[in-house]
């Protein structure tokens, strides 16, 4: 709305034209805000109605429409039911364990590989890079039929390690981010350390790794989101209820609680809330991470 006068000022147009330009600009501006508001509603309404449902009592749920807010905003009864029935604490614990171990693994394995690739000269380096590149093109969902047989033969099915090795082993994007970033660290730093008598591994640990922090943060964020939200791998490999991660714990509600939407809604909110919190805390880093991860 502040734009119209500025535009008009730039062009000393006859009064009638300036007026029309102003009206046009105002209309465009209104349309812009309307479209933004509409899109926000489309994003938020599906989530808000689930929040409403999660706070209603069973009787209230059956008698009120989905758009009606709950009578009591502090009725956390469904959350308590969902938390215990879904064994959500275990779900969060399992997810956290898998998340921490596979992220640590990804960072270590990825930075080590990137270090070798960007700092050493050795035969077959091109081939190895090519192997990583081609692997990035293979969608994970397609190969699970055969991967399952391998994980099974290793005796890892129905242990958290199946998910952990798969999350560590299928990640090519992070190696790329590490290589890209490592190339921007001047080699003269390595050489200076080398002259001081540092070995290759010491250089990796004391020089490279600390400088890699931004890249590590990027990888931890995008990989962390992916692992937290992953459904197919835990669903396939972590069948027994004690191994549930939050995705599969939530999915289990589908059968027995089919008619109790207020409980399902509460459990859905339990899964969504940590994402909201993390997003609000780390917004800027998440945008940057996603952009870096996708375009590299």
């Amino acid at each position: 709305m502040t734009r119209a006068p500025r535009h008009a000022a730039g062009h000393p147009a006859p009064p009638a034209r300036a007026g029309r330009v102003r009206v046009l600009a105002a209309t465009a501006s209104t349309a812009k805000y309307l479209s933004l508001a509409l899109a926000s509603l489309v994003v938020l309404i599906p989530l808000v109605v689930v929040l409403f449902a999660s706070l209603k009592t069973h009787a209230e749920y059956n008698t009120t429409g989905p758009l009606t807010p709950p009578a009591n905003w502090f009725n956390f009864h469904n959350f308590a039911t969902a938390w215990t029935a879904g064994d959500m604490l275990r779900g969060f614990w399992n997810t956290t364990f898998i998340l921490v171990v596979s992220l640590t693994g990804t960072v270590l394995i990825g930075t080590l590989a990137a270090y070798a690739i960007s700092r050493f000269v050795f035969p077959l380096k091109r081939l190895i890079l090519g192997l990583f590149l081609v692997a990035a093109l293979v969608p994970g969902v397609t190969t699970q039929v055969a991967t399952y047989q391998i994980v099974k033969s290793m005796g890892l099915v129905n242990t958290s390690w199946s998910a952990i090795v798969l999350f560590m082993g299928t990640d090519i994007v992070s190696i790329y981010i590490f290589i890209q970033f490592m190339q921007s660290i001047p080699q003269s730093l390595d050489q200076a350390a080398m002259i001081d008598g540092a070995g290759r591994f010491t250089i990796y640990r004391k020089v490279i790794l600390p400088l890699m922090k931004p890249a590590i943060a990027t990888v931890v964020i995008i990989k962390g989101i992916a692992v937290y939200n992953e459904f197919y791998i835990p669903f396939l490999y972590l069948r027994s209820p004690e191994l549930s991660v939050i995705s599969t714990a939530l999915f289990r509600f589908k059968g027995p609680y089919g008619a109790q939407w207020e409980t399902i809604a509460a459990c859905t909110m339990i899964v969504i809330v940590p994402t909201v919190v993390i997003f609000l805390l780390l917004q800027r880093f998440i945008y940057n991470g996603i952009t870096a991860g996708a375009t590299k």
């Binding site: 062009h11 969608p139 969902v141 003269s188 459904f231 945008y287």
Partner: protein, 305 residues
Amino acid sequence: MTRPVVATRPAVAAGRARRKIPHSPWLYVAPALILLVTFTYVPVGNMIWYSFHKWDGLDVTMDPVGLDNYVRVFTDEQYWRVFLISLYYFVASFAQIAIALYFAVVLSFNVRFKNLFKGILFFPYLLNGVAVGFVFLYLFQPDGTLDTLLRVAGLGEHTHLWLGDPDIANISLAGTSVWRFTGLNFVLFLGAIQSIPGEIYEAAEIDGANRWHQFRHIIVPGIRRIISLSFILAISGSLSVFEIPFIMTGGANGTRTFVVQAYQTAFQFRQIGLASAMAVVLLLIVLLITWVQRRVLPDEEVTLS
């Protein structure tokens, strides 16, 4: 992100000559390489092998059946029909890209509450797939949110069995997919637009270019690569749709996608050979598309050595 300027490499040769332990680089790449081979290349190899056999995944013997599995994938309607289902998601991805592009352009100029809108539009992409599935199951219920909203808007006669009617179910699911993934395209476009230097717009404005001209002649060419990349990803993405239909309908009412069918064939009906043939076909299509992409859009040189 600011990064240190890439240094030219003086005295590299001297540094290397001093401390060259011939085999040590392999120790650094070994963990990554072992995982890569074990969980990507060996499975792909096995999958091709399985696809020429009839096997239930448990038997010690596999019966070689030649191309039978492939013949079945292409002739049995149950199997080739799943390709048609991908078309729904593919068409939906055009809407997704258009919406994302529109909002990315709008939000890269001065807008009030810019960060709020940016956050709202992007947020669905971060949500858990199962949670999204449940949120939309709830939305699409008979007399659920969507029906209620339509009635409030006076469009009561347009209510449907959103997930129960085979004519509509795929559209509902594809809509869910648009809701979930638009934010990703949006943020990628936004990032690309912001990398266009601001002076270009200023210069254009002085020359009298309006917003549409700026969009047409500055923004679109400036982010052409990421737009085309989005289209390529849309193709392989729509071929490998799994979570949304699996969670929301379990493949019922004609919503079975390629991966849902492959999953059921392999893990419920234990026809590993047939499922592998499906996966090989899917993999070949994806590789073909990627190859075409590389030909059409040669990578701006990203040196990796």
